[in-house]
Amino acid sequence: PDLSDRPKTFIVHVSKSQKPSLFSSHRSWYTSIIQNLPSPHPTKLLYTYDRSVHGFSATLTSSQATQLLSHPSVLSVTPDQPRQLH
């Protein structure tokens, strides 16, 4: 495996209203989006977001994250960052 592209967590912002009607829920739509990515590594959906933001977080490789940016409903993909207690 390419260690430089090992899976990390990304937060994916999605235009929620563009969900195709064939998906019964946003979760199933998001699952479909990441399952359709080219897959040297399996992807994993961590959370779906519906109020604070619209989208999901998932474990992806950097190249998969880059691929996501070309999806018409994806607005932004950012790496999951650690924060600290103040």
């Binding site: 967590t9 650690p82 103040h86």
Partner: protein, 654 residues
């Protein structure tokens, strides 16, 4: 907390507490390290049934049974998917349980500060003894555990914010953020999540960070967030150093064990014994044994230095500030007799060691002293500061609040020092940080939410900002412990929160989500970037429909202005809403312009004839004679004779 309600002027007989019914039924979502629910601060005695609108729940785990929740703690969840994704699966649940239980202490402290119940006779080994109360004693707490032993991850924070909004919290208290510098808004999950919260009418109160005293360090600085810095109160824990030549040097400590012997002990500097910062294992026992060791602040945890001295056979420790922390004194519950001294005193002690043939010292612990401190509040050196690193036209932090030596609830799982060699367990602990100031303001915001259920979150923020004060209890300008000089709006924002005045601000500067969209347009964000915040596609005309001439035109309750040789004149617009009890009100302006900056306000009189009526004005900031560098400060004040609506002005030369 003990004493901070008194320092803030909160009372049972008048002002914000009785006029808000102590925030009864308001829900504060605390996103933190969880909670230790058995602490008396979380008793639900005297609180009514859970609000019917509440949709949240308490998860049940082996160490967090259903009985952990009550009418005070009405929600409790834990978010660890992002954490596990980073560090691997949490296998040893005895070390870190996948539950809302707080094994760190921070979350129990912040939750009890924001909304803890009344607890009689609270103390930390008799220090800071008194009646402990949260700011909003009847508010309900919803716990969202997002921080774990190796950090707090955006993916978990967003999941918690998402759920908190769905559950129906009114306020989110977030003592978490980036360290050092704020990420761009569209890469900052807290900023984006807080925007979503604002869309749902949820106020996010957040800590500015502990990266002071350097400038440009404030985090959580999006204009829809209430950003809180930290300051001292009029309570100290003196523990003086008496040197061999009988000089007495002031310090602070929460040490509570066996006293030192009643004669002076040999005194050495850690730097001469293997480690100036007194790292564990680095001190040479042969040079430390039976002595008091001076350890420089920095490098490792303050309390860890005493632990290192103890392990090396030392009998006492003097924590010596350096230039970085200046005169800021943080009291710690050291494991051995120890005290912290400011930089000036530290230099005197270092010089005494250097020049004396047989340097000696002892430490005298004097307990808790209230009211006799030199002046308060003073801004903590660690409190992160402006100017705003992302949008210099928005002043951040917004306000300061008590964040130094705060007593509040603590976990039963961890020692107050967080040291493995410390076997003590306490109900209350005294700690410092903007993490501690944030929940003070979260609780006060909850009180205002109850007092004014129809106010927008921007109106609540405005009330807190325009009523803040800038003079200490000696009548002088608030001091900055980071510099030893007068503090400035880039350090303290509008000033120290004044809850009772915030109850009756007279005028507020209101904002809605469209205004924040206009703000994003004004800083050059593209429709695609803005779509991340609003969660849906935005047409290319989004910034035509929502426009501001500049980010400084956002109807913010404070002013931050950048002048330059290219731009010697800046104009900002503001719209004030009359929320005073009198429908008919006439406000006149007083401008306190700094030297070298001309400020004019037009019109100079705002006439209101109805409640909630709005009036607008324009402020012109013009470079005056001789101003070509540095920062200048002033204020713009509107008064009708009963209310004083004060906006700080900070001007920077670029």
């Amino acid at each position: 907390t003990t004493h901070t309600p008194n320092f803030l002027g909160l009372a049972d007989s008048f002002g914000l507490w009785p006029n808000s019914d102590y925030a009864d039924d308001v829900v504060i979502g605390v996103l933190d390290t969880g909670i230790w629910p058995e602490r008396p601060s979380f008793s639900d005695s005297g609180i009514g049934p859970i609000p019917t609108r509440w949709k949240g729940t308490c998860v049940t785990t082996a160490d967090f049974p259903s009985s952990a929740c009550n009418r005070k703690i009405i929600g409790a969840r834990a978010y660890f998917n992002g954490y596990e994704s980073h560090i691997g699966r949490l296998m040893d649940e005895t070390a870190e349980a996948k539950s809302p239980r707080d094994t760190e202490g921070h979350g129990t402290h912040t939750a009890s500060t924001a909304a803890g119940a009344v607890v009689a006779n609270a103390s930390f080994f008799s220090y800071a003894q008194g009646e402990a109360r949260g700011m909003a004693t009847k508010a309900r707490i919803a716990v969202y555990k997002i921080c774990w032993s190796s950090g707090c991850f955006d993916s978990d924070i967003l999941a918690a914010m998402d759920q908190a909004i769905a559950d129906g919290v009114d306020i989110i208290s977030l003592s978490v953020g980036a360290g050092g510098r704020a990420p761009p808004y569209d890469r900052d999950s807290i900023a984006i999540g807080a925007f979503g919260a604002a869309q749902h009418g949820v106020l996010v109160s957040a800590s500015a960070g502990n990266s002071g005293p350097n400038p440009f360090t404030a985090t959580n600085i999006a204009p829809w967030i209430l950003t809180v810095g930290a300051s001292t109160i009029d309570r100290e824990f003196p523990a003086d150093v008496v040197l061999g030549d009988n000089r007495v040097i002031s310090g602070v400590s929460l040490y509570s064990g066996e006293p030192l012997v009643d004669y002076k002990l040999p005194l050495v500097h850690g730097g001469d014994c293997g480690s100036r910062y007194c790292y564990e294992g680095a001190l040479q026992p042969s040079k430390v044994q039976g002595k008091i060791v001076v350890c420089d602040r920095g490098g490792n945890a303050r309390v860890a230095k005493g632990g290192a001295v103890k392990l090396a056979g030392g009998l006492g420790m003097i924590l010596a500030n350096t230039e970085e922390s200046g005169e800021e004194l943080l009291a710690d519950g050291h494991l051995i007799p120890a005290t912290e001294v400011g930089e000036i005193a530290a230099n005197q002690i270092r010089e005494y060691i250097r020049l004396s043939q047989y340097p000696t010292a002892t430490i005298v612990f004097r307990g808790t002293v209230i009211g006799s401190s030199p002046s308060s509040p003073r801004v903590a050196a660690f409190s992160s500061r402006g100017p705003n690193s992302l949008t210099p036209e928005i002043l951040k932090p917004d306000v300061i609040a008590p964040g130094v030596n705060i007593l509040a609830g603590w976990t039963g799982a961890t020692a107050p020092t967080d040291l493995d060699i410390d076997p003590r367990r306490v109900e209350f602990n005294i700690i410092s940080g903007t993490s501690m100031s944030c929940p003070h303001v979260s609780g006060i915001a909850a009180l205002l939410r109850k007092a004014y259920p129809n106010w927008s979150i921007a109106a609540i923020k405005s009330a807190l900002i325009t009523t803040a004060y800038t003079l200490d209890n000696a009548g002088k300008k608030i001091n900055d412990l980071g510099t030893g000089e007068e503090s400035t709006p880039f350090v303290h924002g509008a000033g120290h929160v004044d809850p009772n005045r915030a109850l009756n601000p007279g005028l507020v500067y209101d904002l809605n989500v469209n205004d924040y969209v206009a703000f994003l347009c004004s800083i050059g964000y593209s429709p695609r970037q803005i779509a991340v915040f609003v969660g849906k596609p935005t047409g290319s005309d989004i910034c035509t429909r929502n426009s501001l001439a500049s980010p400084g035109d956002l109807n913010y309750p404070s002013f931050s202005v950048v002048l330059s040789s290219d731009q010697g004149l800046v104009k900002y617009k503001r719209i004030a809403t009359n929320v005073g009890a009198d429908a008919d009100a006439v406000y006149e302006v007083t401008v306190n312009a700094p030297a070298g900056v001309e400020i004019s306000v037009e019109p100079r009189k705002l006439v209101f004839s109805a409640e909630n009526q709005t009036q607008s004005y324009e402020v012109t900031f013009k470079r005056g004679v001789g101003y070509d560098s540095g920062e200048r400060y002033g204020s713009i004040e509107w008064t009708d004779g009963r209310h004083l609506v004060r906006s700080p002005v900070a001007v920077r030369w670029s």
